[in-house]
């Protein structure tokens, strides 16, 4: 069975502060994929990143960065210099060896950026 745990439910930060969202996963697959999605108030899930289990290189995309540590089964997400537009729910998700088939989502982190 696959499981994703996002411990923090709601996080409030003041604009321009950094915020880190923790994601811990469990899987028996040796090949798997990890994802982060953003869900703004409009409701659709917006894809942010996909990482496969063999690629532990950290990634930076603008103000977003991801830290994948296989040894601790974690795939954490940091928003640097947060902006009001970053206010949303962020989901970490896990799939098996076939990529995006059947995603297992965490409960999500509600991020509120205060101007």
């Amino acid at each position: 069975a696959q499981k994703v745990t996002q411990a923090q439910t709601e996080i409030s930060v003041v604009e321009k502060e950094d915020v880190t969202l923790d994601c811990v996963y469990e899987t028996r697959d040796t090949t798997y994929y990890l994802f982060w999605y953003k869900q703004p108030p409009s409701g659709e899930l917006v894809f942010l990143i996909r990482r496969n289990s063999f690629d532990e290189q950290n990634e930076i995309s603008g103000r977003y960065s991801w830290n994948f540590q296989k040894s601790t089964s974690s795939f954490n997400f940091t928003i640097t210099a947060s902006q009001v537009v970053d206010s949303a729910v962020y989901f970490c998700a896990l799939s098996g060896p076939y990529g995006n088939n059947r995603l297992a989502f965490g409960k999500g982190n509600q991020v509120v950026v205060i101007p």
Partner: protein, 116 residues
């Protein structure tokens, strides 16, 4: 179309009523998924199609839930004899073939179902 389109956006149903939720995937996407998202929770997988074939329906919570994609494009999720616990947002997603590991699922805005 430009993205995954779902209709209706909102649906209020009386307990016991049947409902049908529609999903128009991105043109050319062969894979289609349905998820159920309860309030304050992450989406939960319901079912998966590749073209018109329903390859995985293990997430459907009961036999009152039925999904189809007869021509391999538009999909309909039907819920019979709705109950209050069916109240949730139903999300549809589509993607290129799932064996294409360099693709991701694109989600629609969902249908918010409220059973009263």
């Amino acid at each position: 179309g430009a993205g995954v389109s779902q209709s209706p956006r909102y649906k209020v149903a009386k307990r016991g009523q049947d409902v049908a939720l529609r999903c128009d995937p991105i043109s050319g996407h062969v894979s289609l998924f349905w998820y159920q998202q309860a309030l304050g929770q992450g989406p939960e997988f319901l079912t998966y199609f590749q073209n018109e074939a329903q390859l995985d329906k293990s997430g459907l919570p009961s036999d009152r839930f039925f999904a189809e994609r007869p021509e391999g494009s538009v999909s309909t999720l039907k819920i019979q004899r709705t109950q209050q616990e069916d109240s949730a947002v139903y999300l549809c997603a589509s993607s290129r073939p799932t064996w294409d590991k360099n693709t991701e699922a694109f989600f629609g805005q969902g249908t918010r179902l409220t059973v009263v």
